[in-house]
């Protein structure tokens, strides 16, 4: 059977095909999970965000514009979910700093290698506004234009924020000798 592209799969979903949406989940759950993990630093939280992002994507499927890439639209949803999560977590932390330790469980330490953990620690020091730029550019290989569409900001802003983010990350890595 010929493999369908994302736009065709979305059309099938809108006709009620569960299988078509399963194919989209198959194709993108790992990418979205990794994006959420690099944003939050915890696998449990990343899984929850991935789940919510797909639920939201399904509910809003009719609003997807096929002029743009599906993954870019899905990234936008996942990015918003991650930022909302971080915002809520920050509020929660303010209320009770002992509730969330930010420590990794043994499973997470096994999943990520040593370099991965050290890079993640450095990324987590970036403001989420900058963190997302590094993730989309370096981990998802998105172009300036794709990032601009995903985050709904002008390309010029993408460049200036990405360059600042990269510079900050370099300083964290060098100055704190994280790597």
């Amino acid at each position: 059977m010929k493999e369908m592209d994302d736009r065709q799969l979305v059309q099938e979903c809108l006709k009620g095909s569960k299988n078509a949406f399963e194919q989209l989940v198959d194709k993108y759950n790992k990418v979205i999970f990794n994006l959420a993990y690099r944003m939050t630093g915890k696998t449990d939280d990343a899984e929850d965000i991935t789940q919510k992002a797909f639920i939201k994507a399904y509910e809003k499927l009719e609003s997807y514009n096929p002029k743009f890439e599906f993954y870019s639209w899905l990234y936008r949803i996942a990015v918003n979910e991650s930022l909302n999560f971080l915002k809520a977590k920050r509020k929660y932390k303010e209320l009770d700093p002992d509730m969330i330790t930010g420590e990794k469980n043994p499973e997470e330490c096994c999943l990520d290698n040593e370099l991965g953990l050290r890079v993640q620690a450095a990324i987590m020091e970036l403001d989420p506004r900058y963190r997302i730029l590094v993730l989309l550019n370096h981990f998802q290989s998105c172009s300036y234009k794709e990032i601009s569409h995903t985050l709904n900001i002008p390309e010029k802003t993408v460049k200036s924020r990405l360059f600042t983010a990269r510079k900050l990350l370099k300083e964290i890595i060098i100055q704190k000798e994280t790597i």
Binding site: D48, E59, F85, G116, Q120, L169
Partner: protein, 257 residues
């Protein structure tokens, strides 16, 4: 250090530098050791990021996502759209276009009037997203049937039972000192389970059985459990909260309340 050259370095890392910019940058690098160091450090950072391999999510993530989605959302309307497109395609092929168009217009009018005057127990699905955060719903069909707080040793929280047209849903906002099982027992002839929506970041898992919806929750649980009514009187509906295999809280919802 000129901002222009710093931008060129970033563009080179991203592989979008033009040949003329590259030439200009190379010339500047030869004369500026500070710029050379910056380029080296930025490239090093980029190389480190490239070495990080992606993580594998847990194998049941896909199943978890699929189970949480209400796939009935798109099916009924699409069926009706297929029917309409078949009908209109047939009309425009004939030479009696005007007559068929009038008939079709009348038919659409009748369908629309029926939709506007539909019974509260029609089968048209209500978008589930409208049910949570019901601030915008001001119509009389929206009702809070029951609302109570639980203040027991080890369980605190709020339970709300709401109804909107043929939908009825429970909103749970619970904090417990240990993992709990939350059971909803219902009469299958009067209610049918439609969907479950976890809202907060707490870890909750759903299991369903005949006449039973079971939520396995860790210490935090904020979720919606949605049912569709088959009759106006959808009771009995019972909530049980269990910890370590023992029932620690029971609530029988009834019409009198």
């Amino acid at each position: 250090m000129k901002t222009k050259y710093i931008e060129f370095i970033h563009k080179e890392i991203d592989g979008v530098i033009s040949p003329s910019e590259k030439q200009e940058l190379d010339a500047a690098l030869k004369e500026n050791p500070e710029l050379q160091q910056l380029k080296q450090e930025l490239k090093h950072t980029s190389e480190i990021l490239k070495q990080v391999s992606p993580l594998e999510p847990s194998p049941n993530l896909k199943k978890k996502i699929i189970n949480a989605i209400d796939f009935s959302r798109y099916s009924p309307r699409t069926e009706s759209m297929d029917w309409l497109s078949k009908l209109t395609g047939w009309i425009w092929k004939t030479k009696f276009r005007l007559a068929y168009a009038t008939a079709a217009g009348m038919a659409i009018g009748i369908v629309l009037s029926l939709l506007l005057l539909r019974s509260p127990f029609s089968n048209e699905p209500i978008p589930l997203s409208e049910l949570y955060g019901t601030i915008g719903i001001s119509d009389k069909n929206y009702k809070t049937l029951n609302e109570f707080t639980i203040n027991l040793e080890g369980i605190n929280g709020l339970v709300k039972l709401n109804s909107y047209r043929d939908m009825v849903w429970a909103e749970l906002k619970l904090a417990t000192n240990q993992s709990s099982e939350i059971h909803f027992n219902y009469n299958e002839r009067r209610l049918s389970f439609k969907a479950w929506r976890p809202i907060d970041e707490g870890k909750t898992i759903l299991e369903t059985d005949k006449n039973l919806v079971k939520i396995l929750s860790e210490k935090q649980c904020h979720c919606l459990v949605l049912f569709r009514k088959s009759t106006n009187n959808f009771y009995p509906l019972t909530l049980h909260i269990m910890q370590s295999g023992k029932t620690v809280f029971t609530k029988n919802f009834s019409e009198e309340e």
